[in-house]
Symmetry: C2
Subunit: 343 residues, 2 copies
DNA sequence: GTTAGCACTCCTTTATATCGAGTGCTAAAT
DNA sequence: ATTTAGCACTCGATATAAAGGAGTGCTAAC
């Protein structure tokens, strides 16, 4: 329904505004070499595009800026898959040649690199521990009253939690308990741990362990480890350099929201797999009204594992960021699969 | 060398400026009930105080604000130990009645509470793991190539690191190794672990373990766990509400510096035990020129363990924050001692 | 259908005046 | 010898006006 000329003009306006952060006027447009019509023609087209809801004015006699609907259209229909800079490719590859084995460190480093590459804020939702399979449970008594339970997963993730020992429990009891748990629970995904314990292990335990009841409740409580994925951030302060955030109160709202990990977690988590773009109010959070969030998922083998996100102003370099995220999430998946899939 | 009247005037000026963030003039001072002289007299005294370096003007005809030297004098000589609000006392106590056992969580929660109570940024330097004593080492093989080493300390802190297994190593070898390590190293402070391994354990290991060399290097590398204390933050964005940080570039510098954990670590770490106040340039970091940092140390039993810090503008409520930190660090020490000293 | 021309809008910048809180200094009062 | 009243002066903050410029919408000519 848009003519080719309108499409061209619209695209040039968006590209120009993304670069300059300044409203784009008809005169400056007419000077671009890809545009051959007079400023008056452009003005007419711009008026139409505004009527259609793709463009806005900041005041009656200003140039045009893209509206949210405009960005949405731009992202959905006008984005040509951009070839990545070799410089970017190298930066990304560089992480994966560093010999890091811990999943968490790889992920943290990813957030850092992505923020440096984009100058936006990078948020990486860590590996979904809940889907990891139990490799080993260990219990280390610290003194007569407390012990520490350690859970190791097949991806090398370690969770630990302190708990109270019932009075008078014996170290041989603990040993027995640990053996039984490992025997019965190895290979079980963490998210099913609780259920399995009640269904399959409780009975066996009761037969073998003295002072079973008090011990059991302590332990079960402990195994309810919050298996929420962790968030990793990079470039939290990058937003401060964006001209749209010169207003201190806007910045404060945004940064406060970023610090609030639970909210952030929900916002990142609920994105489906693949690349996803949320523009301005689509984020459903007033602090993010002037922001866009681009997410990509990564995986180990066939399991969807986590999410990478870039948070920038709505006036974001969509094309570049999307290419970067596609490339990055893919490489990350490959590397992680290689590292941990080798059963 | 300062007369009583100068002292009085100076104190009132500092208190007023801390409250209002506005330069204090002679007229408004003369209206305070604790001050009985005319504005002209006050002007003379203020001129003297300025000559002595305790006060400054923001421009030729402005009121006075305290200089850094002034704040220093104020902190060193004019601070009356303020009684804490019962509201504050209760807030602090509330953390310690929550049944949290993990050291890290207590510490994280502390940072949060302190930032809420002060409206400044709270930074807590976590327990000094390096002084913790080894409770147990465990090694969990994940697959043929990698294993994960887990170190538990007497305070319940858990460190873990992945490492590569030499090809062809046997699970009985690993078991032997772990047994020897635990036998010889239990009770050794983490910071001495490396030395001990070379001096006392290497020989024994060589006798018992096949494929010793490759295993050993892998493991030793692994035990060089970065035992740097972790930093915990609360209220990172609180600075944005302070009028002195209305300037975006100042904020950006400060927040970027806060994000940069290594620098922050050094700044917090090098404070001696007890309460410490660093004002403005004393911090030795240009991003903190308009900030003051108040630190207090906490401990488990007799060991100095960590540091709590409050970062605010130089125009900070020194009296209140110092009282709060004294009280808090003391309570924290008591609680931690109770929790972990019960050998 | 396109474009040149023009009046109009509104932000930005610059200049100018005014106000007021504050100072330093001098001279009178205590 | 202090203290204080008085006064000229400074300078930031605020308001107002004027000029400039980038941009628009509309009309009429191409």
């Amino acid at each position: 329904m848009l003519t080719d000329r309108q499409l061209l003009i619209f695209q040039v306006i968006v590209d120009d505004f993304i670069r300059s952060a300044q409203p784009v006027g008809s005169r400056s447009l007419s000077k671009k070499e890809e545009i051959q019509f007079s400023s008056a023609t452009i003005r007419n087209e711009m008026a139409d595009l505004e009527e259609l809801g793709f463009l806005e004015k900041t005041h009656t006699s200003s140039g045009r800026i893209p509206s949210e609907k405009g960005y949405r259209f731009y992202v959905d229909h006008l984005l040509s898959p951009q070839k990545l800079d070799t410089k970017d490719v190298n930066s990304v590859r560089s992480i994966f040649t560093e010999r890091i084995y811990e999943l968490e460190k790889i992920v943290q480093r990813s957030a850092q690199i992505l923020s440096e590459l984009t100058n936006y804020t990078a948020i990486v939702l860590g590996p979904a521990v809940r889907e990891n399979k139990l490799k080993k449970i260990q219990i280390v008594p610290l003194n007569d009253e407390t012990a520490i339970a350690i859970i190791v997963t097949d991806t090398g993730h370690v969770e630990n939690k302190m708990f109270h020992l019932p009075i008078g429990i014996d170290s041989s009891d603990i040993e027995k308990l640990v053996n039984i748990l490992n025997e019965r629970l190895t290979g079980v995904p963490l998210e099913e741990l609780n259920g399995k314990i009640y269904k399959e292990v409780a009975l066996v335990l009761r037969q073998h362990i003295r002072s079973y009841d008090s011990m059991f409740s302590s332990l079960v409580e402990t195994l309810k480890i919050p298996t929420n994925e962790k968030l990793f951030f990079g470039g939290k302060t990058n937003m401060l350099s964006q001209p749209e955030f010169h207003d201190i109160s806007k910045v404060k709202n945004l940064l406060t929201m970023i610090e609030h990990e639970e909210d952030m977690y929900d916002i990142i988590r609920k994105n489906p797999s693949g690349i996803n773009v949320k523009i301005g109010k689509e984020n459903g959070n007033s602090a993010m009204d002037d922001c866009s969030l681009i997410t990509a998922t990564y995986s180990i083998g066939t399991e969807q594992l986590g999410t990478i996100a870039i948070l920038g102003p709505t006036r974001m370099e969509y094309s570049r960021v999307i290419s970067l995220l596609k490339f990055f999430s893919n490489d990350l998946s490959v590397v992680l699969t290689k590292l941990y899939q080798s059963k």
